[in-house]
Amino acid sequence: MKLRLRREMHWIRIDRYYSFVSEKESMTRENDIADADSTDKGEYKHWENVSVIHQPMMCQHCAQAPCETVCPVLATSHSSEGLNQMTYNRCIGTKYCGNNCPYKVRRFNWFRYNDNDKFDFHFNNPLGKMVINPDVTVRTRGVMEKCSFCVQRIQEAKLKVKREGGNMKNVQVETACQRACPSNAIVFGDLHNPDSDISKLHRNERAFSVLDELNVQSSVKYMTKIRNTETI
């Protein structure tokens, strides 16, 4: 039901981009695939050698975030660490930030999901509620949410350093997606530290930002995929 209305609730989505050899030079236009489909009469000759690129898309934590400037109540702002942070309890739900996000990664709580029988993910009974991550606020109805770069883990690491001493430079904070990824495709770290892995990767010539031409200066960079093929 919610999917049909296009209301997926996830902080990270995996965009897939296909490329394949075609008689046409490019297949960038909207109806190219459909056209190709209709002309080849079920022979699927266009669909040989289809290759797929996965692009996990979440909040890019832009330095010049278009979402932040438009919130009337300062519910989303920039942290001094460069995080694009979302203040749930300040949000009044104008959804302006979501509209203005060029990556469309902000998600809205259309209903009070955590206490609603119609969304039976066991959040509405005491047992189910025990499964919810205690470090993350349960969002109420009518507020915006998005990837926070697992700010609770960053805070935890900072507190640990404070308590036990040491240097943040030596602490590796792992985000949930990073931990879940078996192929270590996601790297998280401190861009301010030129020796960190993430800084090195950002300087890599394969690194690029999505929608760079908008000058939003996202903090997330992707690595171009390298394939061992003859044609592109």
């Binding site: 400037t69 109540v73 009044i92 302006y96 509209n99 990556y103 009518g142």
Partner: protein, 449 residues
């Protein structure tokens, strides 16, 4: 001594005297309501009920009952907001700009147009308030000290500008409307018989006597209020346009939005004024005050502003091509040929093409035809906002987020319901207040020597 040219048409026909004006215009107030009024008022109340039900459902359940989604986060709500704000522009414009340009034909229509402004702004304000996910904390958008320490508001946000613009516009329009009405309220005060009526009209007339000193100040204040209302009108729709134009979304971010939205607002506002007045002059027997000449002048403005809006459409389209930015180009091609092509072409034909019939004298002077055209204009302007909001959002940068959107029953109900608010207010206004500015109309009676 009046030196109006002989070739000018009479603004008030039927050789009315000042006493006739008072009698004609205060008749609906002094008499029992007509059956037409009763039927109309009942209908409005029904629509008001629809609004109440839809609003209750929305606030009780959450705005999830609307069909807006992860990419199109504004749909009918903000479309309706811009639609009503646009309508709310003609009133102040007629009173202010036409006062400054000394277009005397405004005198018969400015009162009802200003009333319309105020009611339309009320309708408009419903949407940005109730489109909030947590409307009960909506007051956080005001610059108030609050529970989180004094976390203030974001002066960079166009929505915050809206808060200031709409509230200023509403209150200044109300002041303008009220000050302009004081002499007429005094006239009514001196005509009504019942004690309650006497008390209230006396209360609101604030002891107006018509002294020359008061009139001198009254005229100066009207002029200054007109002078500051004009940039205010411009600023309000400019700021509404900034909701879109400051963003980075292709189809929203266009520098021509401010003047183009203002032209569109005047266009739709005059459309609504024409809708109301064509009916009102017939039902209330005001044909001598709101003459064919008045209607013709309005249609000319509709034609001019419609053309200006059309020029802006074409400019946007051309510059999108000229920019050689693929997002821009795609956004505009998608508008015209994408899944929402019907909305785009409704907008084009209602706003640019249809008003061109007003080049013909017949079209400008036939009331029933003007009525139909005014509805067409209103429909077209609603589609304009729908096109700008929905088609720009449904396909922007990343194709993975491309979606479709269509309004839910609740959203339609809210929209229809605002007509209930609007017409309920308007019928009450027509019953209790003079619909035509008596004191001003009296100044142009003897335009023939």
């Amino acid at each position: 001594m009046i030196h109006d040219s002989l070739i000018r048409e009479r603004l008030v026909t039927g050789d009315k005297t000042a006493a006739d004006v008072t009698r004609d215009i205060s008749r609906p107030i002094l008499n029992q309501p007509s059956s037409a009024w009763k039927i109309g008022f009942t209908l409005s109340l029904i629509f008001l009920g629809i609004f109440g039900v839809s609003l209750f459902w929305t606030v009780w359940t959450g705005i999830g009952v609307w069909n807006i989604n992860k990419s199109v986060m504004w749909g009918w709500d903000i479309t309706n907001f811009v639609f009503w704000v646009g309508i709310g522009h003609a009133g102040t414009l007629i009173s202010a700009v036409l006062l400054l340009f000394r277009q005397k034909w405004r005198m018969s229509i400015n009162r009802s147009a200003e009333a319309m402004t105020i009611f339309a702004v009320v309708c408009a304000a419903m949407f940005p308030v109730f489109h909030m996910g947590r409307v009960w904390v909506g007051y956080w958008a005001l610059p108030l000290p609050n529970a989180f320490g004094s976390l203030w508001v974001n002066f960079n946000s166009p929505l915050l500008w809206d808060v200031f613009a709409i509230s200023t516009y509403f209150s200044v329009s109300l002041l303008f409307w009220y000050i302009g009405m004081i002499p007429d309220i005094a006239t009514i005060r001196d005509k009504v018989k019942t004690k309650t009526a006497k008390f209230w009209y006396n209360f609101f007339s604030m002891g107006w006597t018509g002294s020359t000193r008061s009139w001198a100040r009254y005229e100066l204040v009207s002029l200054i209020l007109a002078g500051i209302s004009t940039p205010l009108v411009l600023s309000v729709h400019t700021i509404v346009s900034a909701d879109f134009a400051t963003s980075v979304i292709p189809g929203w971010h266009t520098t021509i939005f401010p003047p183009y939205f203002v032209a569109g607002a005047i266009f739709s506002g005059f459309g609504m004024v024409a809708t109301l007045l064509v009916v009102a002059r017939k039902v209330m027997n005001y044909e001598n005050y709101i003459t064919i000449g008045h209607l013709e002048a309005m249609t000319k403005i509709i034609m001019v502003t419609g053309t200006l809006v059309g020029i802006a459409y074409l400019t946007e389209f051309f510059i999108a091509w000229y920019s050689v930015v693929e997002y821009e180009q795609y956004a505009f091609i998608n508008r015209a040929t994408g899944p929402y092509w019907w909305a785009y072409w409704s907008m084009m034909s209602c706003n640019l093409i249809a008003p061109q019939v007003f080049w013909f004298k017949w079209a400008r002077t036939t009331p029933w035809f003007i009525f139909i055209m005014s509805i067409v204009v209103n429909v077209g302007m609603w589609f304009e906002r729908f096109v700008i909001i929905v088609t720009s959002l449904h396909r922007d940068y990343l194709p993975s987020s491309w979606v479709m959107y269509s309004g839910s029953l609740t959203e339609v109900g809210l929209f229809l319901g605002t007509f209930g608010i609007f017409f309920t207010c308007f019928f009450l206004f027509a019953k209790f207040l003079p619909v035509i500015n008596m004191s001003e109309v009296k100044t142009i009676l003897r335009n023939r020597e």
